[in-house]
């Protein structure tokens, strides 16, 4: 025990010495906001390429829901959504990058689970996208529900929780299936098209992306059943509550703005509104900036520069994007969905 401890200590010391020679950027725990203000930008971890969520196009410009969340946080802190540095991370790297201070906020389609929230030292700030595993199937087979899939051949990506959920679902419903595992989503889409499997399973957000790859997307439908819960959201380090509040409330503000009908185009007019909820949201009445250590009108700036939740959804994954995903669970609570934010007051 002692030996391991001293070994770790000396290792750490060696690495520290090495690092003094390399470029060092110091971030103290508990003072994330101060460090960010000193740096002049937010370090945001995104995915290494998932269209609709975070994706760098041929010009190197990032876009997606996850990217817009980081931009919104930058707008909240600096009043400028461009003050973000994006770090593409693989699924395995993401937690370490957050723990080690390489990034300030992880916005990388990460599923909120109990072990991540507790044992792995992270804090989920909310849900930007309610995802779940679904099925993509050829219309010709005439299947209307996943419960009719007994005996089906299912294409699935190897080594993912998708595979486990799939066998759980079929076992629970006492149905048989033959899985065909693929490494890459490209291969499974081609396989479905060629008829090697009857149905393709993946997270619903992925299924829509898969569908536009097919030669005749209209011949395929996504079945209504969702067989797992995948709430995706931004994450911050455990232990800095001030920073946690800022990221969390940036999300809430965007959802509240949609509910109150405030968007990036009408935000200036709305400042004249008589509705007290809107007045508080836009900082016209009651100083809500000081509590967060931010400018008084930061909520208005977020909405003006990035948009409300509905705008972000529509332009990245919804009706104005190639993915054309329906709002579904991600509609506001007033419209039958799950997006609900506490009031600003």
């Amino acid at each position: 025990m002692n030996l391991t401890k001293s070994l770790t200590k000396s290792l750490t010391a060696t690495f520290a010495a090495v690092c003094l020679l390399a470029s060092v950027s110091a971030v103290q725990a508990g003072a994330t906001l101060d460090a960010i203000k000193k740096n002049g930008f937010i370090k945001c971890g995104v995915s290494d390429g998932l269209p609709g969520f975070s994706y760098a196009d041929e010009k190197g410009n990032y876009s997606g829901i996850d990217v817009d969340v980081c931009r919104a946080v930058a707008a909240a802190v600096f009043g400028d959504p461009k003050k973000v540095k994006f770090t593409p991370l693989t699924a395995k790297e993401r937690l370490t990058a957050l723990q080690s201070g390489e990034i300030d906020v992880l916005s990388r389609n990460t599923t909120w689970t109990s072990s991540r929230d507790s044992a792995q030292g992270m804090n989920f700030t909310g849900v930007t996208y309610y995802d779940g595993q679904g099925f993509l199937i050829n219309k010709k087979l005439g299947v209307k529900s996943a419960k009719e899939l007994d005996g089906a051949t299912v294409c699935v990506q190897a080594g993912t929780t998708t595979e486990l959920n799939l066998s759980d679902y079929f076992r629970a419903h006492k149905m048989k299936f033959t899985p065909i595992s693929y490494d890459k989503s490209d291969e499974s889409a081609k396989s479905l098209e060629a008829g090697r499997c009857d149905v393709l399973t993946s997270d619903q957000s992925q299924l829509y992306a898969q569908r536009i790859k097919l030669a005749k997307p209209d011949e395929f439908i996504v079945l209504p059943e969702v067989i797992s819960k995948e709430p995706l959201g931004p994450v911050v380090r455990h232990g800095d509550d001030d920073w946690f509040d800022i990221v969390k409330w940036t999300l809430f503000v965007m959802v509240d703005a949609e509910e109150l009908g405030v968007n990036s185009k009408n935000v200036e007019e709305m400042k004249k509104s008589a509705n007290p909820d809107i007045k508080r949201l836009l900082g016209v009445e009651g100083g809500k900036g000081k509590d967060f250590g931010l400018a008084n009108d930061w909520m208005a700036v977020v909405i003006a520069q990035v948009g409300n939740y509905g705008e972000i959804f529509d332009r990245n994954v919804g009706k104005d994007s190639p993915l054309k995903i329906e709002r579904g669970l991600n509609a506001l609570w007033t419209q039958g969905g799950l997006q609900y934010a506490p009031p600003v007051r």
Partner: protein, 369 residues
């Protein structure tokens, strides 16, 4: 008067033994087995070549701006490559700063050209070569990274594409060869401390897969560091690749050192040369010449191994092609992307292999039987 014998002028060889027919008879149709193999090969070509050519050339779409231009016929969509070409070359390097990458490339070509020319005196070549090895990396680094001499800084996370592949491969090669030579000499040293250190280093790095080294550098290393202390992800990967390759290079060079007869060492020592002079003037020139194929083999392997950095989220050529194939505006062109990447990798590896053969021929001093 007796008739004088004049020899008949030489007849040309029979028509079917020379030229194309002769070559075909000798090489393709010399035995029943050969005939069968030839027919089989022709059949295979007949089956595979026309569809391939149709796909890659005749039915392919070459011009256009958008995905819609490619929906007409079943051929390849090279527009996909054309649109993403800059990204494949520079990654996310800012467009306004790309001249820096170009000028670094031009400098390398201009600097290296005399090395390939025949007439340049060899002393100059050695100086130029050493200069390229020592000074060029510094110049290139300053150009790429910026932040000095009024060049705006470009973060390494924006480096990508072929640029990043070449940076990793180049840095790996320039660091691995000298380090490998030192390690090989160390492993053959008489001094037990140095020898065991070198053996441990080589066996440790050679005993783990490169993917583990990269993973360690990007996922484990930050956990050992005090919180908030970070250094560049690319730098961590570069150090990992260089140390890994040095271990391999050391064993290649050691193979060459072992092939040098003992008499060479003894003769050099008898002339009164010290250790470093023996090595630098007598042994290493001979040993390194012997191991050119092994060294180039390692370099080629390294060049292809650079694509493994995709597991730590660096956008090298391979990863950036993969990234482009998931672009929602351009879905369904992964074949074109991967064919392009394969062609680029092949071009570089094949050039390296040709250069090494050329080098062997030029350095050939009669040891070959």
């Amino acid at each position: 008067m007796a008739k004088l014998h004049t020899p008949h002028p030489d007849l040309p060889p029979p028509a079917n033994a020379t030229g194309v027919p002769g070559w075909v008879r000798r090489n393709l149709l010399s035995s029943p087995l050969n005939i069968t193999l030839t027919v089989l090969a022709l059949y295979l070509l007949y089956v595979t070549l026309p569809p391939l050519l149709n796909w890659a050339l005749f039915n392919a779409t070459w011009t256009g701006e958008t995905r819609e231009a490619c929906q007409t016929n079943g051929g390849a969509c090279w527009v996909f490559i054309q649109v993403h070409f800059d990204q494949f070359m520079y990654g996310f390097y800012p467009e306004a700063q790309r001249w820096r990458v170009n000028s670094a490339a031009l400098l390398l070509i201009l600097g290296a050209a005399p090395l390939f020319a025949g007439r340049v005196p060899s002393k100059l070549k050695v100086r130029l070569g050493l200069g390229l090895l020592v000074i060029y990396p510094v110049i290139a680094f300053v150009l790429f990274k910026g932040g000095l001499f009024g060049l705006p800084a470009v973060d390494t996370r924006r480096w990508g594409g072929l640029l990043l592949t070449l940076v990793i491969a180049g840095a790996g090669m320039t660091a691995a060869l000298p380090l490998g030579v030192l390690l090989a000499l160390g492993r053959r040293s008489q001094m037990p401390a140095i020898q065991s250190l070198c053996v441990i280093f080589i066996e440790l790095w050679r005993g783990v897969p490169l993917i583990t080294v990269l993973f360690m550098s990007s996922v484990m290393l930050p956990l050992f560091l005090p919180e908030g202390m970070n250094f560049d992800k690319l730098l961590r990967a570069l150090i990992g690749v260089a140390l890994f390759q040095a271990a391999y290079m050391a064993e290649v060079v050691r193979g060459g050192l072992q092939a040098i007869p003992k008499g060479q060492f003894e003769a050099a020592a008898a002339l009164g040369l010290g250790y470093w002079k023996i090595m630098a003037l007598i042994v290493l020139p001979q040993a390194l010449k012997l191991v050119i194929p092994g060294v180039v083999n390692t370099f080629i392997a390294l060049f292809k191994d650079t694509s493994l950095v995709l597991i730590i989220g660096l956008f090298d050529l391979m990863n950036i092609v993969h990234n482009a194939t998931t672009n929602p505006e351009w879905l369904g062109f992964s074949t074109e992307g991967y064919v392009f990447a394969a062609a680029v990798y092949w071009l570089f590896c094949f050039s390296m292999s040709r250069y090494s053969q050329n080098l062997e021929k030029r350095l050939h001093t009669g040891h070959k039987r």
